[in-house]
């Protein structure tokens, strides 16, 4: 039996009936066609599917779509606003924080969550914050630099406000 859900994703509200077992990541990718959220393990070990759910970075492969009923979700597609990149996205571009790009959306979401909670993280804090996100290409160093870049940008923006 299908269950009705209503979710707001990247500011847009959707109502669908889903099988109770459908994973949030499959709902986002297959029903809403938001394919920027990737699947790397289906066991919440790699972090490729990380999205923001009610302000928390979660691994959408271990959340049921039904559990997300009523939630506000931001996926990678919702990070740039009016064509302006999020500072973390900018950091990843500036500092070559990605190669194949598959882990990148999840990395960006996890990094953005860190900077919301801790605008001035140390290198160790950055590494800790992305520990649940695997990257096989970069060796993480450029990702650390990308987050540091974003932190500086966000502080600069805050100072300018």
């Amino acid at each position: 039996m299908k269950v009705p859900i209503q979710v707001t994703v990247n500011g847009k509200t959707h109502a669908h009936e889903v099988e109770p077992r459908v994973l949030l990541v499959h709902y986002l990718r297959d029903v809403l066609n938001l394919t920027g959220t990737h699947i790397g393990c289906e066991t919440s070990l790699c972090g490729a599917c990380t999205v923001m759910l009610d302000g928390q970075a979660v691994k959408s492969c271990t959340v049921l779509a039904a559990q997300a009923n009523g939630a506000h979700i931001t996926t990678i597609e919702g990070f740039a606003v009016n064509g302006r990149l999020h500072p973390v996205q900018e950091g990843f571009w500036e500092r070559h924080g990605l190669q194949c790009g598959y882990c990148t959306p999840g990395m960006i979401v996890a990094s953005a969550q860190l900077l919301e909670r801790n605008p001035d993280p140390t290198e160790a804090e950055i590494r800790m914050a992305i520990e649940g996100n695997l990257c096989r290409c970069t060796g993480y160093q450029h990702i650390v630099e990308a987050v540091q870049y974003a932190a500086r940008r966000m502080k600069g923006a805050a100072a300018a406000d």
Partner: protein, 772 residues
């Protein structure tokens, strides 16, 4: 000519789509009415399949078809491109019907309207197994029964001896022959994007299109066309965004042909996306070599000869290059040293495991690990500084091209230069003093050194099974934009940027005006692919030469249009100039297409294609140094510093080179400290998830201090050597050498990877019979 782009840290042009989640990997491509495929795979390492009952599955909701090994008779076996004398050749069918030879061996395919329903139905298929004794251990496998392939009456796939020089005489003339058994453990490549295939067949056009996450679209097209018995020009392979490869997608897999075949049967698109568990079970593994090293030395540290008797674990079947990997190990056994006599004796064995094949480095990390461990064993034996042992055996810069006893000619190198730079960056002398103090205080601190050389730009066609050249087409469109078509389809390396840099500089145009197209066999001329650190050195050179040809033609046309002597025309910053007359290259391109005024005999259009055949491999090199401390209470390793000086020839984009080196070093870190594919004695895969198979995470990685020397390669006009695998090749022994040096006061001379805290703790606490 001044370069605006080449040599500079240019941000990648592929990134805007990727950082916004707008790229398209295979599973992101949606076709109407797509059916989904799920596989039933063997749960046993070795079993006779006595029955497959698919009746319940066939009636399950959403199920369109079920296929077993009996249904796919006409599909050819999984191809292997390498052939060695007297090699046993098992046929690897796309679905097993009589026997399952490894955990994950595909037995049945279920097609359903939805991916959940496909998996539901796959679970309903009853496979009756009669479990057989499994072959899992290399040495035992070589010794005799049970056999993976009964028909051969042996598990030995082939034996191979290679090398030059009189090894017996070399050992006789040495003061000492050091012996050590060394394991290069089995690893899983684990690209973050698992494999995936989408197949669509148009019966009217008789055209099959396969979207596949592969490193080799054209080679795959050829092989799958052969497997399916269809004309190659009716098969189109498209590799969209590829989420990492590391060699695991340098292959042709059963699923690629099978998905194509199923879509032809059903006349509907079909998709299969590999789960991570399937990825562990049935995507190629790497390494898996267990060998006995013997190295002859004189008292002063001079190496007289090296022999390596190695068991290479093929797995149950060959994939594309499985038997070729130990050959690469043999080629690289000279390392960066003058060793007069070298011999490798390979015993390749079948086991009830997934096939091994090319994983980042592909045979070369194995060799480098052996050689660099050997250098430290020599140093320990003689009480010499490991750096001095290495320096003593380097060829001098004036000895290049340097011929090794493995039959290679190293193109260029200045090994001392890279070594000195690394020693300086590390402040090696001070490190030694600090280590003494730390040891005096009872701490376990070690310094690791590795001075590696590797073999890149694979390679001359004579040395590769399927051609070693690469292709490029460049054209200037009527409106002045530049299109580059490359056969070296990337999967994260950034060729869209680096090749645009080359084109931007050569044509004097902005890189925004350049589009690099790859990975579609119906658009791009035949190419070989991206692997073996070849894309820039071979593929980039093809682009470069094609650009020269295009400019030659444009120059002649410009002279004609300006009414001047062609010999007087100069090209700079995108303009052809002769005296006071001048024309932009875009203007010339428009005239080339309008074709209203062309010199006699000139073809219309402005396009050039070049297939570049390299004369030799290239040989990047470098020195890595690291400092590791082992916690006496827990056996945990802390990397205090990691210093790398790499020489990959001329650098097109330092930002991308840094990224390649860093990623490579961390994959080495994975092998050195964490990763190991483990099968039990029944052939059961014990490390089948990311929980059991430990990949390096951000918190495990050191800050890497990178530097470079730049010795251009004479092999190609760009002077490029290649860098995709350098980090992995150079770093593995460096990391292990540091930890073993840390434990040297306890009498440790060698330990096998991965260096798990438990192993180290047992040694520190005197709780283990260690190998010495």
């Amino acid at each position: 000519m001044a370069t605006k782009y080449v040599g500079n840290r240019v941000k990648r042009t592929e990134d805007p789509r990727l950082i916004q989640g707008l790229g398209h990997y295979v599973d992101d491509i949606k076709l109407p009415d797509t059916l989904h495929v799920a596989f039933v795979r063997s749960i046993y390492g070795h079993a006779r399949i006595t029955g497959v009952d698919a009746s319940a599955a066939a009636k399950a909701p959403g199920v369109v078809a079920v296929y077993t090994g009996k249904d796919i008779g006409k599909i050819g076996g999984v191809p292997c491109a390498s052939d060695l004398p007297e090699m046993k050749k098992p046929e690897f069918l796309v679905l097993a019907s009589n026997k399952a030879l490894f955990v994950g061996h595909a037995i049945a395919a279920v097609v359903a309207t939805d991916r959940y329903l496909a998996k539901d139905a796959a679970d309903m298929i009853q496979v009756d197994y009669e479990e057989l004794p499994a072959v899992t251990e290399e040495v035992k496998a070589a010794a005799g029964a049970p056999y993976v392939h009964e028909q051969f009456g042996t598990n030995i796939a082939y034996k191979l001896t290679a090398g030059e020089g009189d090894i017996a005489a070399a050992f006789r003339s040495s003061d000492k022959v050091i012996k050590q058994r060394i394991l290069n453990q089995r690893l899983a490549p684990i690209a973050m994007e698992p494999r995936g295939v989408l197949a669509r067949y148009y019966p009217g056009e008789q055209e099959l299109t396969l979207w596949s996450s592969t490193q080799i679209p054209h080679l795959m097209r050829t092989q799958v066309a052969l497997m399916l018995g269809m004309p190659e020009n009716r098969l189109r392979v498209i590799t969209p965004e590829v989420g990492g490869g590391f060699g695991s997608k340098l292959n042709v897999y059963a699923e690629e042909a099978l998905l194509g075949w199923i879509s032809m049967q059903l006349g509907q698109p079909v998709k299969w996306i590999e789960s991570r568990r399937e990825n562990f079970q049935s995507t190629i593994h790497g390494r898996a070599q267990l060998g006995d090293l013997e190295i002859g030395i004189r008292k002063d540290g001079t190496v007289t000869g090296l022999r390596y008797n190695v068991f290479a674990d093929m797995g149950a079947y060959y994939q594309l290059l499985t038997p070729a990997i130990p050959t690469l190990t043999g080629l690289m056994l000279s390392g960066s040293y003058k060793i007069p006599a070298i011999q490798i004796n390979v015993t390749a064995v079948f086991t009830n495991k997934m096939s091994t094949d090319a994983y980042r480095g592909a045979g070369r990390p194995e060799a480098t690990y052996v050689v660099e461990r050997a250098m430290d064993l020599v140093a320990a034996e003689l009480g010499m500084d490991p750096v001095e042992v290495r320096r003593k055996n380097f060829p001098a810069p004036n000895e290049f091209p340097f011929k090794t006893a493995t039959g290679l000619f190293y193109d260029s190198g200045d090994y001392v230069l890279a070594l000195e730079k690394a020693l300086k960056n590390a402040d090696y002398k001070k490190l030694g003093e600090e280590q003494k103090k730390a040891r005096a205080a009872g701490r376990l601190v070690g310094i690791g050194v590795s001075t590696y050389v590797e073999i890149c730009a694979l390679g001359p066609s004579a040395a590769l099974p399927a051609g070693g050249w690469e292709s490029a087409t460049v054209r200037i469109e009527p409106t002045g934009t530049v299109t580059v078509l490359t056969g070296a389809s990337p999967h994260g390396q950034g060729q869209e940027t680096s090749f645009a840099q080359i084109a931007g500089d050569e044509l004097g145009v902005s890189i925004e005006a350049v589009t690099v197209i790859h990975g579609d066999t119906s658009i791009v001329q035949y190419g070989i692919g991206t692997f073996g650190s070849r894309a820039t050195a071979v593929g980039g050179t093809a682009v470069f030469v094609a650009l020269q040809r295009l400019k030659e033609k444009a120059s002649k046309l410009a002279a004609h249009l300006m009414g001047v002597d062609p010999a007087t025309v100069k090209f700079a910053d995108g303009r052809f100039t002769s005296g006071a007359k001048s024309m932009a290259i875009q203007e010339v391109a428009l005239h080339a297409h309008l074709a209203k005024s062309l010199p006699e005999g000139m073809e219309p259009g402005l396009s050039a294609t070049y297939f570049f055949e390299p004369k030799n491999f290239t040989f990047p090199f470098g020195t890595h140094i690291c400092i590791a401390e082992v916690d006496k209470d827990t056996g945990e390793i802390t990397l205090q510093r990691y210093i790398a000086v790499d020489d990959c020839g001329r650098v097109i984009n330092p930002l991308l080179v840094d990224g390649q080196v860093q990623g490579g070093i961390v994959q080495a870190l994975g092998q050195a400290f964490y990763e190991h594919v483990v099968y039990d004695e029944n052939g059961q895969l014990l490390t089948g998830t990311l929980m059991d198979y430990a990949l390096p995470r951000a918190t495990n990685c050191p800050w890497m201090e990178l530097d470079r020397t730049e010795t251009p390669s004479p092999v190609n006009p760009l002077g490029v050597k290649g860098v995709g695998e350098a980090g992995t090749i150079g770093a593995t022994p460096c990391l292990v050498n540091a930890v073993i040096d840390a434990l040297a006061p306890l009498g440790v001379r060698h330990l096998d990877m991965p260096l798990k805290p438990e192993t180290l703790w047992r040694i520190i606490s005197g709780n283990s019979a260690r190998s010495a």
